[in-house]
Amino acid sequence: MVSPDDGASGTNFSSAGDGNARDPDASDPGDGLTSAEVTSNPIFANCSAGNSSWHGTQTAGLIAATTDNSLGIAGVGRTVKLMPIRVLGKCGGYDSDIIAGMLWAAGAYTTDELAAFSCPPIRLRRASST
């Protein structure tokens, strides 16, 4: 993997769920929605209330969970390292954040672009949604 950064650190490009904008904390705060959130915020109008899927955390574990430690599952890649970049949150996310994360991951993102990036706000859902 071509990486601009140490595999142990990541960048959070999503403003959803953690109360702030893009920052170096890629922790997964979950995408669970309360009924109050669905009814009070128009951007959640097409989503349903429910617990978090923890989809990103689950997928990360499938790929690279530590093996042979008697904890949870074993990742399929014994020596794989992940660079977590969170681009989705409650009710999905935006192409602009996904694209920014892709460019950042490959080291193809410039500081100037960060401010100028603009894409149609097409809402996406995580792949586990059916």
Binding site: H55, G56, A127, S129
Partner: protein, 92 residues
Amino acid sequence: MSLGGTQACSQGYIDTIGRVNAKGAVVVVAAGNSGGNAVGSPANCPGALGVAGLRHVGDKVGYSDLGPEITIAAPAGNCVNTGAARPASIRS
């Protein structure tokens, strides 16, 4: 990336994947889990490596989307787990 939408591949994704590929990196994207429908975006984009899901006997698991944009398939859910604590299906 385990995400996607139902739209066609946008020019923004085409440009982005081209730039990522030019850096020597591969973009791997889940085909989608909408029950055998068309491959989602950006898995349907030129240069993206779209991934479908297989069940335990080796054919496509029902929920995995399918189309000519698929590059590889890998084990997904629908495994034979009969215990009370069986895990949830593994979706890409």
